[in-house]
Structures are given as C-alpha cells and as structure tokens.
Amino acid sequence: MGITTDFPAELITKYGLAGPRYTSYPTALQFHEGFDAQAYRRHIQSSNDDLIPRPLSLYVHLPFCKELCYYCACNKKVTRNSQRAEDYLKHLDKEIEMQGALFDRDRQVIQLHFGGGTPTYYDDMQLKHVVETLSANFLLSRSANREFSIEIDPRTVNKERIAYLADIGFNRVSMGIQDFDRSVQKAVNRVQDEGKTLDLIDAARKSGFNSVSVDLIYGLPLQTAKSFENTIDSVLTARPDRLSVYNYAHLPHLFPAQRMITTEDVPAPEVRLQLLASTINKLKEAGYIYIGMDHFALPDDELSIAMGDGTLQRNFQGYSTCRETDLVGMGVSAIGKVGNSFVQNRKDIRDWQAALDADKLPVWRGLGLSGEDRLRRGVISAIMCQGSVNFSEFERKHSIDFADHFALELKSLKPLQDDGLIELSEQNLEVTPTGLLLLRIIAMKFDEYLINDKQGKAYSKVI
C-alpha cells in the first residue's frame, strides 16, 4: 500500500458519507444488554480452556479531566474534585482484582494501555498504585517487547513525570497535541505551549520510551491550511515514531461539549480536504508511511514493518502489531474482547461503582460473535489492515464459496471499482492507492448490519 500522489478530492467528496471506524466488527452499536456478566465469564472460561490461550492486553480507562476540550467525544468526566477521582481508583482496584481472578495466571500481559480522559490527571503515586495493582493480579510480561503505553496530556506533565512513567514500566507514550495554533487552541479550550510539548517528546526519548506517538486533529474550528501546516512542520521537528491525524467530527447533537464550538468556525468541506491533502503530502515528504485510516509511522516503526509483512491488526486504539490477544477492559465504559465476544462496562461512573460495591462485574453489554460475524470481521480486517482480500483464504477457513456468499456485496462494489478505489479479480479484492483513503467506504460494503439497516447518522463523517 502507498499513498497516491494525486489526491482524489473528487472521489472523497463523492463518497463523503458517514461511516464507522471499524476498530471492532461488529461495531459497538450492535452490543446488547442480553450479553451479561455471566456470558462474559463463560467466554473468559472458554478462552482459558484454549490449548494455547492467547496472551492478554489490558486497557485501563481513567476518565477524569481537569478541563473540558470542546471537541472531545470520549467518555470523560471533567472535575477538579480529587476525592471523586480517588474514589474511582478504589473501585478500579476492586475491578482489577475481580477481573484478574477470572483469567488463568499463566496468561502473560504483553500489551497495556492507559487511556482517558486524562490518565495523567492522577499523580505519580496514584498511577504507580494502579500499575502495582495490575501487577499483583495479572502476569505482566517482563520482555522488552511488551507494549505498555499511556496517553499524556502535555499540560499535566513535566520532564520529571515523564521519567517517572518510564520508571514504573511504561515504554510507549502517546501525546495529545491536536494543534499548536493559539487561536485554534483557544477555540477548543485546550491551550498548550508548543516549546514545552516538544521538549516533552525529547524527554520521553531520553527517558527510554521506545516509541513516541502524537495525536493531531484536523477540521477543528478556525484551522486553515496554512495554520495546520505550521503545526505539522513543528511536530515534524520532533520526528515522532507515529502520528495519528484524526478528523474532527462535529456532532453537537450527540456530544454536548461540542455545542461550545461555534459551528460557523468549523472548516468547510473544501478546507477539510485541503487540510487532509496537505497533511498527507507533508508527512509523505518527511518519509512517513501511511498505515491506513488516520495513522502514519516512520518506515522503521513496527507498524510500518507489520504493514509490509501482513501482520497488522486493528484494535480499539487504532492499529497494532501484536499477535492476537484477548483484551481486558477495566474502568468505566471500557471495552474488552475475549475469545469470540465483545464486552463493555457500564458507562456511567455511578452505575459502574454501584456494581462493584455490590461485588458484581460492572458489565453493561456485549456481543457474542456468530460465525457470520467472524467471517465478516476477517474480511473487514483484511481490507483495513492489508488492503487486500484473498477469497480462497476465506473459502478454506469458513467453508464458503466467496463469490456466492458475498454475491450482493461484490455487486455493490462495482461503482467503487469503476471509480478506481479497488481492483476486483476472480480471487482477489485489492485496494488501490486511491482507495486507501476511503478504506471505511470499502469495508462498509461487507458490514451486514449496515446492509440491513441504513442508519448512518451516528457515524463520524469520513471526511
């Protein structure tokens, strides 16, 4: 896969539909409350029973923020009341103990991610305590290859804190930058100093973090092609290993925080296209590889290497190189993936705490995957991660005739083929360099739930 030099502005405008990001398939919209704690336990038991159980990934959700960023669509809680945050940690301890007890102790944790909210809302001692609780209840890998990452809000840390995070076991860091332009920062209520942020990236490298990832957002209010180019130029001076450049989806009817943003300030579709095009060109010039969706990486980064050898995987944080793991989600609203199931915790902090107070797993909903779901998950993952679907592979694995089973889907791909997004042969679907920018549009054709139910309103705009 590689990005086309001619930016397909027309096609992106044409296909600028709403679409899911496919960090999971089926998407969370299909989760239902019929899947309860008991179902979750059953799937865990069955995963422990595997002849060679998968290693584990842990996701810990720390939802508190000191201030509200207006663009945010995450599940977070803005508070300066440290008592609430402390109380949350006590409950988190309990959940870690309860979940840890369900997984066989010989299953190594090779991936760990602290996400938010703002994980660094908590102080050093508190974060250390969470890591220690995890370590007491799960078998954390000691290998240098383990991927233990934490999301950092540069406004909440200094060089000493960065070094401390490395000391307690983190070796990957993801920094939220979004935009360095001061007027944009003010418009989204996230003012952070450019020089200080860049110094922190440098400090992370010196502290031994072996991967630094940076998040940017395009489509924010008041952004112009020029201002965003400046941000990118500045970020590139620090040469992060990975860059995620997300598209801001302005959906104030769904996310109340976004009502603080003046809709007129949000760049028009043409401007967004320009922002995307110039971002891609700049990153390409700087030697970054386009991984897919919103993600870019340096050529020697594991993500780029995994893309080359076909081992790339999609996960809730974007892309990953890990061999398949079972994911344990802990904290409010956290999503897990165990065996052939997804599970999600209660999304309201009070409900989540109440369940734990009653000694119950705080499961809200989930989904057990059918054989059809698993087949389609495989196809969608092949599109999103390899940019290519080999039909015979699926025929062998799922005992189907691909052309027959997906007759309607293949027919619906015809316009995409005519527009040069994909190439279709008897045995293969190949995403073209042009199609790479519209992966979701291609994947959506295989989403059984979208085919059966044409509701696209809740999804973020592809562009």
Binding site: N48, D49, D50, L51, I52, P53, D104, D106, G339
Partner: protein, 244 residues
C-alpha cells in the same frame, strides 16, 4: 443410572435401537456378533436423550447398575482427591464403553460428565452378563475392551516426559478419531487444557508451552481448541510410538 436421572430421565422412552444400523457398529460391543445375535443385543440397549455439556451420567458412589456406550460427543471421568482437587482419569469418545471400573465393588468410582452435547446407550450390566453367557463372541469382546483399557492405563503409568505424554495423547486421539471416520490430521478437542493437564499429571501451563513448542517446530498447528497435525511422523517419534 445416577441421582441426576431422577430430575430428568436419560431414557425418556424405550426407543427402537438398531445396532446394525449404527455407524459405530464396527467399534462398539456388538461388533463381532452376527445378525441374529445383534438383534438380541438390541433389546438390552437404552438410547439416551441428548446430554448437555456439564451434565453427569455417573457420580462417584452411585450404585452400579449399567455401563454406557458413547454414541455421540465426549465424556471425561474424574475423581475428587482428598485435597478437593479434581483429577481427570480419562476421556471417552463415541464407541467407547464407560463404567467397567464399577464392576468389582458394585459402585461407581468416578464421576462421568459430558464435555459436549452427547448421548449414550445404556446397558444394564445384569443383562449384559446374562447375554454374554449365551453369546461367547460378546464375552470375548467384553474381555477385549477391558484388556485394552488396562493396557492403556499401564502404558500411561510409564516414566514419560511432558513432551512424550502430550505427543502420546495427540497420537491416541488422532487414531481414535480416524477409526471413527473423522480426520486423523485435524480435530477439535472437547477437553480444556486444564482437563488435559490433570489427566497427564502436568501443570496447566506446561500443556500450552509444549504445544506452542510443537507448533513452532511445525509439527502441529493450534487454533483455540482445534489441532491440525502437520508432521505425523515427527509426532510419532516424540511419542515413541510406531503408529499414530
């Protein structure tokens, strides 16, 4: 057959059983009987309803009345040791007979539980004994099956490494599946790694570690509970067995 039976009978009605039509005919007790004797034998067979995973057909301490021939699915037999730990004694596949351990004391020694949706043919042991007196072929078959059991148990008591034990189990399952008309190269295991570990007297993590080693050596491929044997000769070598 057991206390569970009172809640929901295993044999809801006297179903017509036709051993002569059964696909397990060449594995099960009547395999050496002629047509007439097979017909006689059919009269003492009770076909069970589907037995759900986790449902027991025998409990340790149950009074011995019947033996059971597995028709479909898979069972494991186990005892609870004095520390309260479960110890798995063996696994039973279709065509195999469960319950011979209960003959001498007229009491079941082991708990027997279904690992998959399964079914059995129940055979009153009095009737089997009675019939064996009249049909020497049946008696021979009973001796043969019991002897097979004993020889397998003795072989497994040998001083074997973890690799040998696991390779032997895979070999044994492979040939048992093959003689039941399933693939010898690719099969789904109904038992968990914990069951296998308990049965082979190994630590649970040893099972995974050894299987992972076999896998990286290209001998097998494992996906969840499915095993594909890629190099059966190498597996036989590891098991120190001539056949697999």
């Amino acid at each position: 057959m057991s206390s569970d039976i009172k809640k929901k009978p295993y044999f809801p009605e006297r179903a017509q059983v036709a051993c002569s039509q059964c696909t397990l005919g060449n594995l099960c007790l009547p395999r050496s009987l002629d047509a007439h004797a097979t017909e006689q034998f059919e009269h003492i067979v009770n076909k069970s309803r589907p037995i759900q995973p986790g449902e027991h057909i025998f409990r340790a301490g149950d009074k011995f009345q019947s033996i059971a021939a597995v028709r479909a699915g898979c069972f494991k037999s186990y005892v609870i040791d004095k520390n309260g730990e479960e110890q798995v004694l063996g696994f039973y596949l279709p065509g195999e007979i469960i319950g011979f351990d209960a003959i001498h004391e007229k009491t079941h020694k082991a708990n027997v539980v279904a690992l998959d949706t399964s079914s059995v043919c129940g055979l009153s042991f009095d009737s089997v004994t009675e019939m064996a007196r009249q049909l020497p072929d049946l008696q021979d078959e009973l001796f043969r099956v019991m002897s097979l059991h004993i020889s397998e148990l003795e072989a497994s008591a040998a001083d074997l490494s973890a690799e040998e034990r696991i390779a032997r189990l895979l070999c044994s399952l492979s040939s048992r599946f093959a003689s039941r008309g399933y693939s010898a190269k690719e099969f789904n295991l109904s038992m968990s790694r914990r069951d296998i570990a308990s049965n082979l007297r190994l630590a649970t993590e040893t099972i995974s570690r050894v299987l992972a080693r076999f896998q990286s050596a290209g001998i097998i491929r494992v996906n969840r509970k499915k095993v594909a044997i890629l190099e059966s000769e190498k597996l036989r070598d590891l098991a120190r067995r001539d056949t697999c």
